[in-house]
């Protein structure tokens, strides 16, 4: 009984390690395949349009509302301590360090990630990837690598846009609607935000890492999906679930490393 139980755990562990190893290997294969894309920038630019541009609306609208809510909630809390002049700093740090990259990554997983998984899965189901192979065209290089690169480029830009729009949203609520002093709002922000620590690390590095993780998970799930409607839809769901959990875990790890005293 115990032997069987231990055997089952061992088998599960071995399978998990095997899957993890396979995923890591696939990631490096995709990364290596993107090396040749500098000769064909059009492929990446097309995907930047599909992945980046088409995620703009949801990113901007979400950023605006998150910033507005943050401005409102921040104002209520700071009023208790008579520190409403720090609203700009509070909002900027919250957005740059956490909300900007994390919420953008979750939106990106829902908007672009699912679309990538479904697209690749359906291409596989329709034998389009097999057809490419038979035409002596490597689908990893032609289809997956440009999308991976586009996701890696698009995510930090989207994260930056989300943060900037969020700050504008909080400005509209805090300064324009509620009447917080405009000078304090901007000067406290300027004084409290560190270029390297908050903008480069907080927004861009985090977004970059999230971009790599979410795009790779989406592509991997699509590429590994069985060519059936059930599995393609299952892969799409897995993309959102795994990406979201991965984003939270990576965020915690990076925050611990970046902002520890």
């Amino acid at each position: 009984m115990i032997g069987r139980f231990l055997g089952a755990i061992g088998a599960w562990l071995r399978r998990s390690l095997q899957d993890l190893g396979f995923a890591v290997r696939s990631f490096f294969i995709m990364l290596a395949a993107s090396g040749g894309l500098w000769r064909r920038p059009r492929l990446v630019m097309e995907q930047l349009f599909f992945i980046g541009n088409r995620s703009l609306v949801i990113t901007i609208v979400s950023g605006l509302f998150v910033g507005m809510v943050l401005g409102l909630q921040g104002y209520y809390t700071l009023t208790t301590y008579g520190a409403t002049q720090s609203l700009g700093q509070l909002v900027a740090l919250s957005l740059m360090r956490e909300l900007g990259p994390v919420v953008t990554a979750l939106l990106f997983a829902g908007r672009a990630g699912t679309s990538l998984t479904a697209e690749i899965g359906l291409m596989k189901a329709g034998e389009q990837l097999s057809a490419m192979e038979m035409m002596a065209v490597n689908p990893i290089q032609r289809v997956l690598a440009p999308r991976l690169l586009a996701g890696i480029i698009a995510m930090p830009v989207l994260g930056g846009i989300f943060t900037a729009v969020g700050i504008i949203g909080s400005y509209l609520v805090g300064v324009v609607l509620i009447g917080v002093d405009e000078g304090s709002f901007w000067s406290q922000m300027q004084a409290g935000v560190d270029l390297w620590k908050d903008i480069i690390n907080g927004t861009y590095i985090k977004s970059l890492v999230f971009g790599i993780a979410v795009t790779f998970i989406a592509l991997f799930q699509g590429y590994q999906a069985q060519p059936t409607p059930e599995d393609v839809s299952g892969a799409t769901t897995r993309t959102v679930v795994i990406s979201s959990l991965m984003v939270w875990w990576l965020d915690f790890m990076m925050t611990a490393v970046m902002f520890s005293k």
Partner: protein
């Protein structure tokens, strides 16, 4: 088979299995240059697997497939891709790129593998589309054309680089009689015009017999008969006879093998039969 021309593709003692499940066993096949050879058999007989092994998408369990004298599974990725440039394949459902127009689909291999000018690519693509009768549908997307037309666009794409070997996976499946006839004629005519070799995997007896030079019959992963279409048409082999004449009764059982109905219903022998 009296072979007067050298073989482009040779299959020798080929075995293939998915895990424990044997798909092909002991195949010996020859595909002479310039000929149209049909591989026929029922669904699940291993026909498409043969094509995938020739294209190097699968690796044999044992035995070998040779194309141009090169053993396919021994090639590294670079040489395998070089070999595939001399092949064209028509997939069962066309496998057209759904986001591209018919023109762009046919232009795809040309853009990927050549440095030809846009003007020359345009000329070549229009010629290929003209050959399959769809020059005027060049700007339509796969969703805007019928299944038969899609198959013809896929055929134009398969021959875009004037391949030496063209493989067809169920080219007649799901087509109306007119489209079937058109596709069959195209396969034969293109093969002769390009001087290529065609391997035709299908279960459509009439069309295959009309255009093939030689036919192999596969059943349960084994070659059960082979010969010219005329020989196969009068064959007395039970499987070929059942297949060619579309007989319901014969060596291919109607019921999926397993327990009897009486066993399933828990009836004793002699009571429920």
């Amino acid at each position: 088979m009296s072979i007067v021309v050298p073989n482009l593709v040779e299959i020798r003692d080929l075995h293939f299995a998915y895990g424990e499940r044997s798909i092909l066993s002991g195949l010996q096949m020859d595909f002479p240059r310039g000929k149209v050879v049909a591989v026929m058999g029922g669904s699940g007989s291993g026909k498409t697997t043969v094509l995938r092994l020739i294209g190097g998408q699968l690796r044999p369990s044992s035995g070998a497939v040779s194309v141009h004298g090169q053993v396919v599974h021994e090639l590294d990725t670079e040489n395998l891709y070089l070999m595939r440039r001399k092949m064209g394949m028509l997939f069962q459902h066309g496998a057209l790129f759904t986001d591209l127009t018919a023109f762009e689909n046919v232009a795809f291999p040309l853009r990927e593998h050549t440095d030809l000018s846009e003007e020359l690519i345009r000329t070549l693509v229009l010629m290929k589309l003209n050959a399959v009768g769809l020059r005027n549908a060049a700007q339509l997307k796969p969703a805007e054309i019928s299944g038969g037309m899609g198959r013809r666009v896929a055929l134009a794409r398969a021959i875009a680089l004037d391949p030496e070997l063209i493989m067809y996976d169920e080219p007649f499946a799901g087509l109306d009689p007119i489209s079937m006839g058109v596709t069959a004629n195209l396969i034969r005519n293109l093969n002769d015009a390009l001087g290529s070799t065609s391997i035709l995997v299908s279960h459509d007896v009439k069309e295959c017999f009309a255009i093939a030079d030689y036919v192999y019959f596969l059943s349960s992963g084994k070659i059960v008969a082979h010969g010219t279409p005329a020989e196969m048409a009068v064959s007395t082999h039970p499987y070929v006879k059942q297949f060619v004449n579309a007989e319901a009764d014969g060596p291919v059982p109607f019921h999926y093998p397993g327990k009897s109905l009486a066993d399933d219903l828990g009836l004793h022998a002699g009571v429920g039969r």
